[in-house]
């Protein structure tokens, strides 16, 4: 215990960190903050809910099932899976002016695009234009990897099962069928169209597909998906891209086209229409249904009542809870005086 300038080698450092005295903010919550806070959040949620619901209500939707169940359905004769192409015509009437731009969707139900083995059954390298994977597709594509020992391009289950019904829409104007034009462009994601999916640099495109075969279910090879427009052909065909972007849930719809050609760019006027469907895609086998949907969109996308209602429910719950808390608080604040 020497007193002169002791050398305390083991003395811990006296810093805020080592002494656990870091300056800190300790939020002091009180009933006066908590209860109004709850009310405010509740009200905000109710507000968002109302806004969502109002917006959602303003979105016009027209949808039609065309699976062809029931004898009197126009597509009934096509629902029986037959190899030969089948066309069915669907007449319908829209009672209101469907404001444009109108989006044309097809919808499938009970279709498990999110089944793991299905959703991994593709070759991203191949689809990004890598010719090496044209020759030997990835194992993930199995069992749609090879057909008769020739590589399938595009390989895999997703591509193989691509939706192949086609639609033509006519407006019935004084008993004449006036076609409503649309093309399937501008419906895919920008990144999908520009980065993720790439055709090989080979010209003409079909040469890249030498020694490969088309997917088993496909009527035409990939390079003939849209022979007229090279920017919509092969792997960057937009309907193909939309299909390849697998759905989250077994009931889903996918964008087929946007109706933005005049004179229907402003919307579909009320009246009777005819939809001519090239019915190729079998769904009854797995208990699924098919439908077409015409809808316009808003800032929140398509019609979606669920979100608005959920916001309203949660918001109301918060407000109710704050009332309960207020009662509890009142009871406890003056316990002695009771």
């Amino acid at each position: 215990m020497a007193k002169q300038a002791p050398d305390f080698a083991n003395r811990p450092d006296n810093t805020a960190f080592t002494q656990q005295r870091l300056p800190a903010w300790q939020p002091m919550l009180s009933a006066g903050i908590v209860i109004p806070g709850f009310v405010l959040i509740g009200l905000a949620f109710i507000g968002i809910g109302v806004a969502l619901l109002v917006t959602s209500q303003s979105i016009q939707v027209f949808e039609m099932d065309y699976t062809g169940v029931g004898n009197n359905h126009p597509c009934f004769h096509c629902s029986d899976p037959k190899p030969k192409p089948c066309v069915c015509k669907l007449n319908f009437t829209i009672d209101f002016f469907l404001k444009g731009p109108v989006f044309f969707y097809y919808g499938l139900s009970n279709y498990f695009q999110n089944y793991r083995k299905y959703s991994v059954s593709k070759d991203d390298d191949q689809l990004s234009g890598n010719l090496k994977n044209f020759e030997s597709p990835s194992d993930t594509c199995s069992p749609y990897q090879r057909d008769n020992n020739k590589p399938i391009v595009p390989c895999g289950s997703i591509a193989n099962s691509m939706f192949n019904d086609t639609f033509k829409l006519y407006q019935n104007v004084n008993a004449t069928m006036k076609p409503v034009n649309f093309d399937g462009k501008g419906i895919a994601w920008w990144t999908d169209y520009n980065i993720k999916y790439r055709n090989p640099d080979t010209t003409p495109l079909r040469n890249a597909f030498n020694n490969t075969v088309k997917p088993i279910f496909w009527p035409v090879p990939a390079y003939e998906l849209d022979p007229k427009d090279p920017a919509n052909n092969g792997f960057i065909n937009q309907n193909f891209l939309v299909w390849m972007r697998t759905a989250a849930l077994p009931d889903f719809r996918k964008l087929y086209a946007r109706i933005n050609d005049p004179p229907y760019a402003e919307g579909l006027p009320a009246g009777s229409y005819m939809l001519e469907i090239q019915y190729n895609y079998p769904v009854l086998a797995f208990g699924g249904t098919k439908k077409v949907v015409f809808s316009n969109v808003s800032w929140m996308g398509g019609k979606n009542d669920f979100l608005g209602i959920a916001y309203l429910v949660i918001g109301t719950l918060c407000v109710l809870m704050s009332i309960v808390m207020l009662i509890v608080y009142a009871k406890f604040k003056f316990p002695e005086e009771d």
């Binding site: 083991n10 003395r11 808390m325």
Partner: protein, 1154 residues
């Protein structure tokens, strides 16, 4: 060798040996050829041989065995094994739902970090082993003593021990340099007592071996010792020495135990009987145990539960998968867009494993490594704490075991050693009362006493902490015959030996009390110089006087007094006595002048928690002495059973008609802050027990002075306790026994005012009556404290085992000596006080402190914080990982049970490490719900940990339940939003990921109460990292490098622009955290009431500290001069004025506890 045997046989033929047989441990002196082949050896797992070598091995790894052993040890952790299985599963492509590299990297890191840590600890242990093993000792090898090392010692070796050397093995004392082959040993390392004990060689060995030059005779010594097998009974030894045809009985007094220190003896020669692991002290050391904390155990159970539920869920989902694939098979022919395996059962089997992989993040790999990091940081905080740094020794606190921190916050039982832990083991003469006048003032702290000018006294060595100039004047002026007699009594009536150092006498006493008394007399001028067999020389103020020592009526714990009968140089006969007050007061003459004043002084001394002794004198006439001594000689010669009783009676005859001259008051100095600490810990709900090898009186006295016992505490001793335990309804009789107290108005208070006092032999009865354990513990739980005295190290551990067995509370033991090692190892948490008694306690302790009072900070601050931090950390971790992983279960219902992940693989990999780990780590490092000051001010806060309020299975289950709720919300709200829309799987995955990250972040924000800059930064960094990493992994750069691994390209670009995604994530997040928010809000609303209560109740205990000195007085006197063991009986009958209501403090206590 054969000659020895022949001699033996010849001897036994000529004179039949009547020794009892049945002793199986045979030791032959000086015959390594006999012992060497019987040495204990081992190869792999085979062991043979009998005699252990003298090597200590507390390390477990060698370079060769490190890798297999550490892997074996680590894979005993279920978690590690589980992760290994996951890695194996993930590398099977058919079932791999997540790439394999997601798990193996963290696993490898964990294994190596852990292995390195174990290696470091083991290396340190190996080093300290080596230091002990290479301590020197003198071994007799062929007629001369050679320097050897401890580890080379064998049974049968003859050793020479020098003064102040530690004895390396259990030895039979053959002879020593002192007369009669006496020698003194200090047994501090064994029983914590620092007084000297003597050991004596057999007279046969003494006379035969000391007569001639020692080396030769010792080398020729060929005795054979037969004794018991090695055992852990420290105070018992049974054996025989067969030598020269004679059979001599050996007892404990002939044995020098390993770990004791030779004192006051130049040399001692001994024969090694037990070495190494066979020695008694080693047998008393418990096995090295791996300690795990209760929280960890609960958590492990919860993790096991999680694993089982994951398995069960996986089975159910696998069945679902089988059903689904058979449905798909039956509905769609061979060519189906869904790739389904042909056999539904096989498909289900594969899905089972896939789901196990997919759900494995529910049991996060990062948890265990984070757990260890947090523990280490908490330990560092303990090491760094300046408040626990002991400047005089330049020693900070030390967390030696870095995995028990949260246990510090849950301690229910504190079992403390006494000597060196509660007390400083320094006795100070503080006050005395001579002829009714009190000298000195004990209310002044010893350090602050103004030293008296003792320069006139050439023999003064200092060490007197008393200021009494008045007394000095009287003494030096010889104005007061009483004072002279008083000091004369102190300098004559003792058994102390003097040793000269620097011209002044240093005293070696069998008890520290005597040393203090004789030392005080020396300082005041009455210097005990030396003693011979029948003469005591004393220098009285420089005049040397020889007193003829006629008789020494020694102390026993039954007599509780000692006396000397001396002939003064002038010729008169005087009897000087000192002893416990009750004993002396009943032997006084009638109508003494100062008796009343002295009794008052006794009371005031006792109140100040001083140990008091009464000093009395009596003049004896020559005639009565002659008659008495004649009778004494006669009875001493009688070697019958009644001898003891007869002697006692004789002594009693002499010690009567005494004249009381004064009272001494000795302070058994407590360590600084001990009473405050104990009071604080008691308020914090800890039960403090004292386990000591010391005598009952001493222990009880310390109990009072450190406020463990209140003056009005009723002591229940063994007789009473036994009756209670034996009665059919112990609870009832306990209550009844309590109600005999008049003041026991309300039962709650009465229970708290009782303490149990037990001694070692009594504790041994528990071995025979195991059914008493539970009853005893239930009684002890209602008592203020339990004192266990005269307990061996093994028994200390047994007491802890008893507590551990019958309560679920966490036990902590505190000790400072080697005798505490066993209990330190046995308790859930062992604390070593780095004191004077060597470092063995610290070596084996989980936490090492320099002062007992640091415990309050260790427990109430560090422990409480650690407990809270770690519990919150575990709860949160459980929540965030389960909530995150269980989403897959619900998703399974909508993807055909195909083990489809709802997250991008990179998100799974980064979620636990990058997105949610930092804030919770900061919480686990810095969280403080109350500052250190408040934690000490309101010790009641500590009870949270004892009640396991944050770590009970119930709390953990509710956290799990909350996780299930969160996972439901995380899945079903996005499900509702995206159902039947054109949003794709990847957008939904991102939405859920965003919501999961936000939920986890908001949850931690709610949990954090103490926002340092690091916390804020961590939260910020986590959120930023989420967006940054998401953008990077979704970017085109990485996609171009490896399209298969970064297939989420462009998702965040699009999704983060979409208000619907944000609105969905916001709703999901808010709904997920709503229960937490509500719980927090309700707590805030309800706590207004609570807070007022805590404040109003807690203000008073602070004042309580000021009231400590004002307890109801109880006169206590204790005599602690014993050399041998013994059980004195304490009288604890309260007098009328003590039967007042409990002091205000206790009432406050009971209110706080409500």
């Amino acid at each position: 060798m054969e000659i020895i045997v022949c001699k033996m046989v010849a001897g036994s033929n000529s004179r039949p040996i009547v020794c009892p047989t049945g002793l199986t441990w045979e030791v032959r002196a000086n015959s390594p050829r006999y012992h060497k082949p019987r040495q204990k050896k081992s190869f792999l797992c085979f062991r043979w041989g009998r005699y252990a070598d003298n090597v200590i091995r507390s390390h477990k790894f060698s370079p060769l065995t490190f890798l297999p052993l550490t892997l074996y040890e680590q894979f005993q952790r279920v978690a590690n094994l589980y992760f290994l299985l996951m890695v194996v599963l993930q590398s099977v492509p058919v079932i791999s739902a997540i790439p394999w590299y997601i798990t193996i990297i963290p696993l490898a890191i964990i294994l190596s970090v852990r292995g390195m840590k174990d290696l470091a600890i083991d290396t340190a242990r190996r080093r300290s082993d080596a230091a002990i093993n290479s301590r020197p000792c003198d071994v007799l090898v062929s007629q001369s003593f050679n320097k050897g090392k401890w580890k080379d010692l064998h049974v049968g070796d003859v050793l020479r021990i020098h003064k102040d050397q530690v004895i390396p093995a259990d030895l039979l004392l053959l002879c020593s340099s002192e007369p009669h082959s006496l020698c003194y040993v200090e047994t501090a390392d064994i029983d914590g007592e620092t007084n000297l004990k003597y050991r004596q060689a057999l007279s046969a060995t003494h006379s035969e071996l000391t007569s001639r030059p020692s080396q030769e005779t010792l080398a020729a010594f060929d005795g054979v010792v037969l004794c018991e097998e090695p055992n852990n009974r420290l105070y018992v030894f049974r054996g025989q020495l067969h030598w020269r045809g004679k059979c001599l009985l050996l007892e404990n007094e002939h044995i020098l135990l390993r770990g004791t220190v030779l004192r006051n003896t130049e040399f001692a020669y001994g024969l090694a009987i037990y070495t190494g692991a066979d020695t008694k002290i080693m047998r008393n050391c418990g096995k090295l145990r791996v300690k795990t904390t209760q929280t960890e155990r609960v958590f492990n159970r919860v993790v096991m539960g999680i694993v089982l539920s994951v398995l069960l869920t996986a089975v159910l989902l696998a069945i679902g998968a089988g059903v689904f694939s058979s449905w798909v098979m039956s509905h769609t022919g061979a060519l189906t867009p869904l790739v389904v395996d042909g056999n539904p059962v096989y498909a289900g089997f594969l899905m089972f494993w896939s789901y196990i992989i997919l759900l494995s993040p529910a049991m996060p790999i990062a948890l265990y490594i984070s757990f260890e990091v947090i523990h280490s940081v908490h330990s560092l905080f303990i090491n760094w704490d300046l408040e626990m740094y002991w400047q005089p020794a330049d020693r900070p606190a030390q967390a030696r075991n870095t995995s028990l921190n949260e246990e510090l916050g849950q301690v229910g039982y504190l079992l403390s050693d006494k000597t060196g832990t509660l007390t400083q083991n320094r006795l100070l003469f503080r006050q005395c009362c001579i002829a009714g006048e009190i000298y000195g003032d004990a209310s002044v702290r010893a350090e602050e006493v103004e030293p008296m000018d003792l320069s006139w006294n050439p023999f003064s060595r200092g060490g007197l902490f008393m200021t009494a100039p008045g007394l000095l004047d009287k003494l030096r002026g010889r104005r007061c015959p009483f004072s002279t007699e008083f000091l004369r009594a102190l300098s004559l009536c003792h058994t102390v030996m003097a040793e000269w150092k620097e011209e002044t006498p240093v005293y070696q006493a069998a008890s520290p009390d005597e040393e203090a008394l004789v030392g005080a007399a020396r300082e005041l001028g009455w210097v005990f110089l030396s003693r011979t067999r029948d003469c005591v020389a004393v220098s009285e103020l420089g005049v040397t006087r020889q007193y003829q020592l006629l008789a020494l009526l020694d102390f026993t714990s039954k007599r509780r007094r000692m006396s000397v009968l001396v002939r003064e140089p002038e010729g008169g006969l005087k009897l000087y006595s000192k002893g416990a007050d009750i004993v002396i007061l009943e032997r006084l003459q009638k109508d003494l002048p100062y008796q009343e004043a002295i009794e008052r002084a006794l009371e005031s001394f006792a109140q100040a928690c001083l140990r008091t002794l009464c000093v009395a004198v009596r003049s004896v006439s020559e005639a009565s002495w002659e008659q008495w001594s004649k009778t004494l000689d006669q009875s001493a010669a009688m070697a019958t059973v009644d001898r003891e009783a007869l002697l006692e009676k004789l002594y009693d005859q002499m010690e009567r008609e005494l004249q009381l001259i004064g009272v001494t008051a000795i302070e058994d100095r407590l360590q600084e802050g001990v009473p405050e600490t104990i009071a604080l810990l008691k308020q914090a709900g800890l039960k403090v027990w004292v386990l000591t090898g010391d005598k009952k009186e001493t222990a009880v006295n310390i109990g009072y002075s450190c406020k463990l016992l209140d003056p009005e505490t009723r002591l229940v001793e063994w007789q009473e306790l036994r009756q209670i335990l034996q009665s059919p309804d112990p609870e009832l009789s306990f209550l009844k026994a309590r109600q005999t107290e008049l003041w026991a108005v309300d039962k709650q208070a009465a229970g708290a005012k009782t303490a149990l006092v037990l001694t070692g032999p009594e504790l041994a009865e528990f071995d025979q009556r195991p059914e008493w354990g539970a009853t005893f513990m239930s009684l002890a739980e209602r008592c203020q404290s339990v004192l266990c005295c005269r307990v061996t190290p093994g028994q200390k551990a047994d007491v802890i085992t008893l507590v551990k067995k019958h309560t679920s509370a966490v036990t902590m033991s505190v000790g400072d000596g080697a005798n505490d090692v066993n209990m330190i190892k046995t308790a859930h948490v062992g604390v070593g006080i780095a004191g004077v008694e060597g470092s063995q306690a610290v070596q084996n302790a989980d936490f090492a402190l320099s002062q007992f009072r640091f415990l309050q900070r260790l427990l109430l601050v560090h422990g409480r914080w650690s407990y809270r931090r770690i519990s919150l950390f575990l709860l949160y971790f459980l929540f965030k990982t389960c909530g995150f992983a269980l989403v897959h279960v619900w998703f399974g219902f909508f993807n055909g049970f195909s083990a489809q992940s709802l997250y991008e693989t990179w998100f799974i990999a980064l979620y636990t490490v990058f997105y949610t780990a930092f804030p919770v780590m900061c919480l686990a490092f810095f969280e403080q719900d109350a500052s250190a000051e408040s934690s000490l001010k309101w010790p009641e806060l500590y009870k949270t940990g004892q009640r396991q309020e944050l770590s009970s299975p119930l709390v953990m289950s509710s956290s799990l339940l909350y996780a299930v709720y969160t996972s439901l919300v995380l899945f079903f709200i996005p499900f509702g939003v995206y159902y039947d829309t054109d949003y794709d799987y990847q957008t939904m995955a991102l939405t859920v990921a965003l919501a999961a990250t936000l939920t986890a972040t908001i949850e931690i924000v709610l949990l954090t109460r103490y926002w340092t800059k690091f916390n804020a930064l961590a939260v910020l960094v986590s959120v930023v990292l989420f967006f940054l990493c998401t953008r990077i992994t979704h970017g085109s750069f990485l996609f171009r490098k490896a399209p298969q691994d970064y297939y989420f390209i462009g998702v965040s670009d699009k999704a983060f622009m979409d208000p619907l995604v944000w609105l969905a994530a916001l709703l999901t997040t808010w709904t997920a955290v709503l229960p937490s928010f509500t719980a927090l809000a309700l707590r805030v609303v309800l706590s207004m009431h609570d807070k007022h209560r805590v404040h109003s109740a807690s203000r008073q205990p602070v004042e309580l500290r000021a009231q400590w000195r004002r307890g109801a007085p109880l006169r206590r006197s204790s005599h602690a001069l014993s050399r041998g063991g013994g059980t004195g009986v304490r009288s604890t009958v309260p007098t009328v004025e003590e039967m007042v209501a409990p002091p205000p403090g206790s009432r406050v206590n009971s209110r706080v506890q409500q």
